[in-house]
């Protein structure tokens, strides 16, 4: 039994163009919406226990809608969303114990209270035993480095600090699944790094199944081995991150610092020089035509290499190539 299962999920929304208020509400009863927008178009996937899956797509593609369907906030127009075998739309309270949700732009903490109070309240809401709660709380405090923050009122936290607390709050009841919707939005590089590291730890050490929807492809790159790409409500790719890069990012780049011996630099066989800055040279080559070793060896024959790295394709480019594919 898959931990999270979406089976032929469809979600249609009535196209709303009316103003708020009584009169338009009454009017809409008489003249019901005839236009529907399909936000989720027959999406199916299964996520097994312990997987960390990235969910990528442009704005309005249906990422948030999918997550809302999986958590039971929205009910599908047709199809099923199941968590641990239970239907999200029917078994909301049961499912609540198994899932943790983090929304990037909304808080689930109590604004005026110290973080520790929010945690205590969650213990009561989820009916956790004191010992289990303490253990999990202390563990999360350590993983997310919350020690100094516990006594601070939530509204005084910086965004990065708050997101770490949100993450902890979502996991206090030891759910087996964690959904994240844009968790690193608005964070600086350092804060993002901390969150990613913590998530990786939680996934690897504790086996928390993670589904992360994010614009920031580095989030996905660092954390997930599997990626689902959604565009206009349809799942256009579901597979490993490596395969994505291989299929859609067939080129790699060799970055080499070459000793300047006065001669012009020529690209090794099978590669082309795309950029030069001082002694640093960028050579692009196709992975199915040459291995990195071959290119390096070829280059070393004609030049003295001081230093080198091999860069994988930029995931942004890879993903945008997927969107461009005719479907």
């Amino acid at each position: 039994m898959a931990t999270v299962e979406a089976r032929d999920l469809v979600k249609d929304f009535p196209v709303r163009r009316r103003a708020p208020g009584m009169v338009s509400a009454l009017a809409s009863l008489v003249r019901p919406a005839t236009e529907w927008k399909r936000a989720v178009d027959h999406i199916s996937f299964e996520i097994d226990k312990g997987e960390a899956v990235g969910y990528v797509g442009p704005n309005g593609a249906g990422k948030s809608t999918t997550i809302k369907l999986l958590t039971g906030l929205l009910w599908p127009t047709s199809g099923e969303a199941r968590v641990m075998g239970l239907l999200s739309s029917r078994r909301r309270t049961e499912i609540a114990h198994h899932i943790g949700v983090v929304f990037g732009q909304r808080t689930q903490l109590w604004w005026d209270l110290p973080v520790a109070d929010s945690f205590d309240l969650l213990r009561d809401i989820y009916g956790l035993s004191e010992s289990a709660y303490r253990r999990q709380r202390d563990h999360l405090t350590e993983v997310l480095d919350l020690g100094d923050l516990l006594s601070v009122p939530v509204r005084q936290l910086s965004l990065g600090q708050r997101m770490r607390c949100e993450l902890a709050a979502a996991l206090l009841h030891s759910p087996s699944i964690l959904y994240l919707d844009e968790p690193t939005i608005g964070l600086d590089v350092l804060a993002k790094e901390r969150i990613r590291r913590a998530l990786a730890r939680l996934n690897q050490d504790q086996g928390v199944t993670i589904l992360i929807a994010s614009h920031d492809l580095d989030d996905i790159d660092r954390l997930c081995r599997r990626v689902m790409v959604i565009d206009q409500g349809r799942l256009i790719f579901d597979g490993s991150l490596d395969r994505i890069k291989q299929t859609y990012g067939p080129e790699r780049t060799l970055v080499a610092d070459l000793e300047d011996d006065g001669r012009a630099v020529t690209a090794p066989e099978g590669a082309s020089l795309i950029r030069k800055q001082g002694t640093r040279h960028w050579f692009r080559f196709a992975r199915d035509q040459r291995t990195a070793a071959e290119v390096i060896a070829s280059l070393a024959k004609s030049h003295h290499i001081l230093d080198l790295t091999v860069e994988e394709p930029d995931i942004e480019q890879v993903i945008s190539r997927i969107y461009e594919e005719p479907r």
Partner: protein, 266 residues
Amino acid sequence: MRNLRAYWRIWLMAQKGRMEYRLNFFLDIFALFVGYVGLVANIWLMTNRFGPLAGWTFTEIAFLFGTFTMSYGLSAYNFWQFTQLATWLRTGDYDRYLLRPLNPVAYYAVERCQTPALGQVFGGLAIMLYCAKLLHLTWTPEKILFVAIMLVAGSLIQAAVMLLSAAISFWTLESGGAWGLLYYPMREFCFYPLGAFARPIVWIATAVIPFAFVNYFPAQYLLGKWDMLGFPPWIAFASLPVAVVFFSICLWCFGRGLRNYHSTGT
């Protein structure tokens, strides 16, 4: 029930979070008081010059008013936030109540309790007791029990209207619209003795939005008036069953509204 403990703790935390806004609390109470003084003063001026209104003296009317206010305070304490639900829906802030393993109505009712409403509870109680004293009401155990039931029923009915306006706001997506339309006019009618109004109004206050059961009918028994406007005398004791039925209906409406939210989002 494990959940009861959860609600208790949520309520405790809510008090803690509000401590900072203590000054606002007193200002709110002051505003409430000041708002009602005008109304009461006007009623006094009217009855002072003209005499009883539909057979009710000023003190009796003030008793009606105090009773209504008190049960309003009790209901508003836990349910006023439902009248503003649309705002929460739009920002997505209500979602958290749907993601936790608690009943979304009870949870929202407890966590967002409105401390300023307590001002109305005490104000209404003070008016009620003072008028009772002026009217030489004797407080027998039956009467006290009756008052308790009257307040419970009254606040259930008013809470039900708040739930109903929340239910409607799932469709109108506007805070306070339905509330302003349903509640305030009806309430205005029920501040005064119902006998002053035309039959259709009396019927609406009895059978549609049953505010008559909040203060008018129970007052018949307490004040010994028995002017039942053509209804049978036992109607003075019917507040609680009416309240329970009405509340259930409005709760059901809220459930339908919630289902609509699950289907169409915002």
